[in-house]
Structures are given as structure tokens and as C-alpha cells.
């Protein structure tokens, strides 16, 4: 085999050779078997009724069933809120360690912490927030004992929209930091100097120069954050035990639950999820490629 490949010096037009594609065959075989086939199967099943006949009823029900529509909306809301909140907070954090003038040590600490936090999700994260903001949680207790403020009688509840959003933020804003820090690095000093020489104020520089350049990257990453929390299941389930009807939680109840049990409808819900994930991921990729025009 080594002999046939010996003259590997770069030939300008490699011969069209199906054999070369054999090298990536295992990868595609794997992808087809364990990624494409299972997802395609759910998409197809969404169009079948329980007897295996073609039907559009599942898709129609997706839009007519009030519970399903509202669980889609709830998931979209929580993803949008945490993408926006996490995006803005993460941006300011990334700013503070790049052009914000904080010492270098702060930056490497923040980056490491962000890498850890964006991977700290699921069951342990839910338990951590119960220990923090639950009824007997640390912050709850401090606020009550030190400031005399009982957040639970004031209407706060960890197992609610706000509580889950605060929990999701823990893996959302670190992801923003990880992507925005390099983007902020590539803002060129010359741009600021040029703006200053022309008499621009700091506000004008940000509004007319820096933000327009950064905007595709900021928005793109927010799309990624959106997808990141839209597909989330474990954290929400571990925290609320299913009492907050996100689409992922409803989907599971529909396919394998005891009460709701209509797998075909569940498959249609899965298809809707994949479409929303695809749109938001495409938004991320498209905006990210646009941002590379200025930021390298």
C-alpha cells in the first residue's frame, strides 16, 4: 500500500479517483447509521399514524394543540431571554478582560472558568442552584437573615421561568465569553486611533465603528446560545421535575410517558424542534462567516 502512494508530491490536478473517498467511508457510514438514519426515521414517523399509514394529522395537531403550541412558545421564550441576557452579560465580561484594561491574569482565570461553567450543566447544575436559590438555599438565607428579605414570599420561585432562566444563564454567558473574547481581540487599534484623530468620542467610536463590526459576531453567538438552551433537557428536568412544560419535557412525556402517550405526535414535535434548531444554527454559521470579513 505504501508503494502505490509513494509519489505523493503535489500534483496540481489530482485525478478524480473514487478510491480516495474510501478513506472517509467509515466516517460517513457512522454518520448515516447513527446520526442521519435515526433523525430521518423520526421525521418520517411524524407523517405516519399508529397504523403506519401516511397522515398529516400529527403536523396539523402541532399547531392546533394548545398545550404543544404553548410549550414551544415557552421554550422559545426561555431560550431568547437567556440568549439575550447571557449574550449581553457575556459580552461585557469578555470586554472587561480584552480591551477593558483588566490585567492579563484576570483573563486566563475568566476563560478557564468559562470553559468549566459552560460544561457544568445537567443534574449537578440544577442541584447547585437548589443549594443557592432554593427555599433553604444560601442566597435565600442570606437575603432573609441579613437583609430581612424573603424572596419566596416576595414571589420568587426557583422552579419557575425566572429560576430556570437564572440557572441556564450559568452555561449561557460563559459560552458568549469564550467566543467573544477572541472577536474583541481582533478589533484593530488603528480603528480607534483613526476615530480619535477625527475627534470621535468614546460613544461615537463604539456606536459607529466597533459595534457595527462586532454585530454579526454578537448576534451570531446569540443564535448559538438560543440553540444551546432550546435543545436543553437535563437541567430543566432535574430542576423542575417536569413542572415547567418546556418542549423537550413535553416531547418526552408524549413519546414515553404514561399519561400523554402519542408517539407519532411526539415525533412531529421532535421535527419542529429540529427545524428551529436548524434555523438558529444556520443563523449562527451565516453571521459568523459574515463577521470574518472584518475580524480575522
Amino acid at each position: 500500500m505504501a508503494q502505490t502512494a509513494l509519489p505523493a508530491s503535489r500534483s496540481t490536478t489530482p485525478p478524480v479517483n473514487a478510491k480516495r473517498w474510501l478513506g472517509v467511508l467509515p466516517f460517513f457510514l457512522f454518520a448515516i447509521l447513527f446520526l442521519i438514519w435515526p433523525s430521518a426515521r423520526l421525521m418520517i414517523d411524524a407523517f405516519l399514524d399508529s397504523q403506519g399509514r401516511f397522515t398529516l394529522a400529527n403536523l396539523v395537531e402541532l399547531f392546533q394543540n394548545q398545550t404543544i403550541v404553548s410549550s414551544y412558545l415557552l421554550s422559545i421564550q426561555i431560550s431568547a431571554v437567556t440568549a439575550l441576557g447571557g449574550g449581553i452579560f457575556g459580552f461585557f465580561l469578555a470586554y472587561s478582560v480584552t480591551i477593558g484594561g483588566l490585567p492579563k491574569v484576570f483573563r486566563s482565570m475568566l476563560i478557564t472558568f468559562s470553559a468549566v461553567a459552560s460544561n457544568f450543566a445537567g443534574v449537578p447544575l440544577a442541584f447547585a442552584f437548589v443549594a443557592t436559590l432554593g427555599r433553604t438555599g444560601f442566597i435565600t438565607a442570606v437575603l432573609k437573615n441579613v437583609f430581612g428579605l424573603n424572596i419566596y414570599t416576595a414571589g420568587f420561585n426557583l422552579y419557575s421561568f425566572l429560576g430556570l432562566s437564572l440557572t441556564y444563564m450559568y452555561f449561557q454567558f460563559p459560552l458568549m465569553v469564550l467566543i467573544m473574547a477572541p472577536a474583541l481581540d481582533s478589533l484593530k487599534n488603528e480603528w480607534r486611533e483613526a476615530a480619535e484623530n477625527l475627534g470621535a468620542t468614546v460613544f461615537q467610536y463604539w456606536w459607529h465603528v466597533a459595534l457595527p463590526i462586532l454585530m454579526p459576531s454578537i448576534l451570531g453567538t446569540m443564535f448559538l446560545l438560543f440553540a444551546n438552551s432550546f435543545g436543553a433537557y437535563a437541567t430543566a428536568y432535574a430542576l423542575t421535575g417536569g413542572s415547567l412544560p418546556l418542549i423537550t419535557i413535553q416531547l418526552r412525556a408524549q413519546i414515553s410517558g404514561d399519561v400523554l402517550h402519542n408517539p407519532s405526535l411526539g415525533y412531529a414535535m421532535a421535527m419542529g424542534m429540529v427545524i428551529i434548531m436548524a434555523v438558529s444554527t444556520t443563523g449562527y454559521i451565516w453571521l459568523q462567516s459574515r463577521s470574518e470579513r472584518w475580524l480575522k
Binding site: 466516517f27 447513527f34 461585557f92 411526539g266
Partner: protein
């Protein structure tokens, strides 16, 4: 002068956000640690940790998840390293498709993937359009189920594994290394194992540790396929205990911390985010 006063204000502004970020990071961890130490009334103790680690369920599920993680890492490496290498060396036109496929793995949520795997492999597999049965349902046997779980995890970890390895592959001159090895008479296996892999140590380690973090934290696929993994165990423990789950949560935080710390040290660069959300 104006610039310097601006700089001072900017520092204050940065300091404010940084403090806020630090609080957000630290408080939940501190709260978890604090709670996990209070199993005994009016006394700080490690009893919750002793109890949690002494539970046979912990050891079984933790070992099981670690074995799954190791196998997933191996499968991922065997799949990704030769593919990425071959694309760099001979098949640049396949780059786009392969990247597209890895992105697809990001688009399919874990819960959809889990049910997809059940729906395909939970039934007997037939040759398409015939009734010739190839295998019985793979999910009937423990071996088959574990196999499907590993494949599912490999898909979940694929985007990060691919990016880690591909980034590493970019920094070495694949062509020169290959030609040099070939002229010394090495075959493909030798080239990949003895020449390419050692040059990719940092990327392999970071891909492996990210995969490890995903697999040990994963609860969706493991609970759908009903395998005795660590995270579903932790969740169940949380249903009837208070202090032990907090102890294990803090311990798993330390584990992730260690993994990411090692990645930071060996790559000196930016680790990525994934996680079982």
C-alpha cells in the same frame, strides 16, 4: 489626557462586570459546598461525602460512566483522526461535507437523538424494502444497548472531537510528515499511530477530556435507553436525599474543573464548550 481619564473609567466599568461575573460563577459553587458540609447539625463535616462515596450505587454508576467515556473517546478518535488526516492529505473537497455532518450533530438535540436511536434500533433491523431480518432489536441485550449508547455519545461528542483534532491537524504539516515516513518505508498504520498521533497529543487530550465531560454528565440518552449511568443515578439520589447529591454535584464540578484545567495547560489556548444541557 482625555484618553487616560477614559481608560480609568473603563477599568472601573470592567471591574464592575468582572465582579458580577465572579459572583455568578462562585456563589452557586460556594452554596453547594457549604450545603454539602452541613449534614451534621451545627458542625462542618465531610460525612456527606463519605456517605455518598460509600454508596455502592455511586461506585457502580460512576465506574460504568467512566468506562462508557473511555470507549466513546476511543471510538471518536478512531473515527475522527483518520478522517481528518485523510481530508488534509488527499481529499480537501470532502472538508465541507464532513463539517456539515458534524454541524448536523449539533442541530439534533440529545433527546431527539435518543428517541431516534430507540426507534431505529429498538426494532428488528431488516434489509430495506424486504422482510429479510438482519438482526434482532439491538436494545434487547445489554451488549447491544451499551453499543447504541456509545454510538449516541460519539455523535454528541463529534462536533467537539472533530474541531479539536482538525485544529491540531492544521498546525502540523501532514503532507511532509507523511512523505518523510513513506520514504522511510512506513505503512499507513505506522504513519498514523507513530507519526501523526504523537504530533496531535494536545488536541487528542483536549478532545478526549471534552468527551469525558459530556459522557459523565449526560443524562438524556442514558435515561431514555435506561442504562445505569452516573447522572441518572445522581438525579435519582436527589429525589430522596439532600446532602449527598450536593456533595456529588460539587465533586463533579471539581472533575470538570480538572479536565478543563488540563486542556488549558496542554493547549495554552481556548477550550470549548459542550456539556449535557
Amino acid at each position: 489626557m482625555k484618553f487616560f481619564s477614559w481608560l480609568r473609567r473603563a477599568r472601573l466599568w470592567s471591574g464592575f462586570w468582572y465582579m458580577l461575573g465572579v459572583l455568578y460563577f462562585i456563589l452557586p459553587l460556594y452554596a453547594t459546598l457549604d450545603f454539602s458540609l452541613r449534614i451534621e447539625r451545627d458542625k462542618i463535616s465531610l460525612l456527606a461525602y463519605q456517605k455518598a462515596f460509600a454508596d455502592p450505587g455511586f461506585l457502580q454508576t460512576f465506574v460504568y460512566s467512566n468506562i462508557l467515556a473511555i470507549i466513546t473517546i476511543l471510538v471518536g478518535l478512531i473515527l475522527v483522526v483518520p478522517t481528518s488526516y485523510w481530508i488534509r492529505l488527499r481529499l480537501p473537497e470532502a472538508r465541507r461535507v464532513v463539517e456539515y455532518v458534524t454541524t448536523l450533530a449539533l442541530v439534533i438535540p440529545a433527546i431527539v437523538m435518543g428517541f431516534g436511536l430507540v426507534s431505529v434500533f429498538g426494532a428488528p433491523i431488516k434489509v430495506p424494502f424486504t422482510s429479510i431480518q438482519l438482526t434482532d432489536s439491538l436494545l434487547n441485550s445489554p451488549v447491544g444497548t451499551n453499543f447504541i449508547v456509545v454510538m449516541g455519545y460519539t455523535v454528541l461528542a463529534l462536533p467537539l472531537m472533530y474541531r479539536s483534532i482538525d485544529t491540531g491537524m492544521r498546525t502540523i504539516d501532514v503532507r511532509v510528515l507523511t512523505e518523510a515516513s513513506q520514504s522511510l518505508g512506513a505503512n499507513w498504520f505506522t504513519i498514523i499511530v507513530k507519526v501523526i498521533l504523537p504530533n496531535l497529543r494536545a488536541s487528542i487530550l483536549s478532545g478526549a477530556l471534552l468527551t469525558f465531560a459530556i459522557v459523565v454528565g449526560e443524562v438524556t440518552i442514558s435515561s431514555i435507553l435506561n442504562v445505569p449511568a452516573f447522572s441518572p443515578y445522581l438525579w435519582l439520589l436527589g429525589q430522596h436525599k439532600a446532602y449527598e447529591p450536593a456533595a456529588l454535584s460539587f465533586a463533579s464540578f471539581l472533575l470538570i474543573w480538572a479536565s478543563m484545567g488540563i486542556i488549558q495547560i496542554v493547549t495554552g489556548g481556548r477550550p470549548q464548550a459542550a456539556g449535557a444541557k
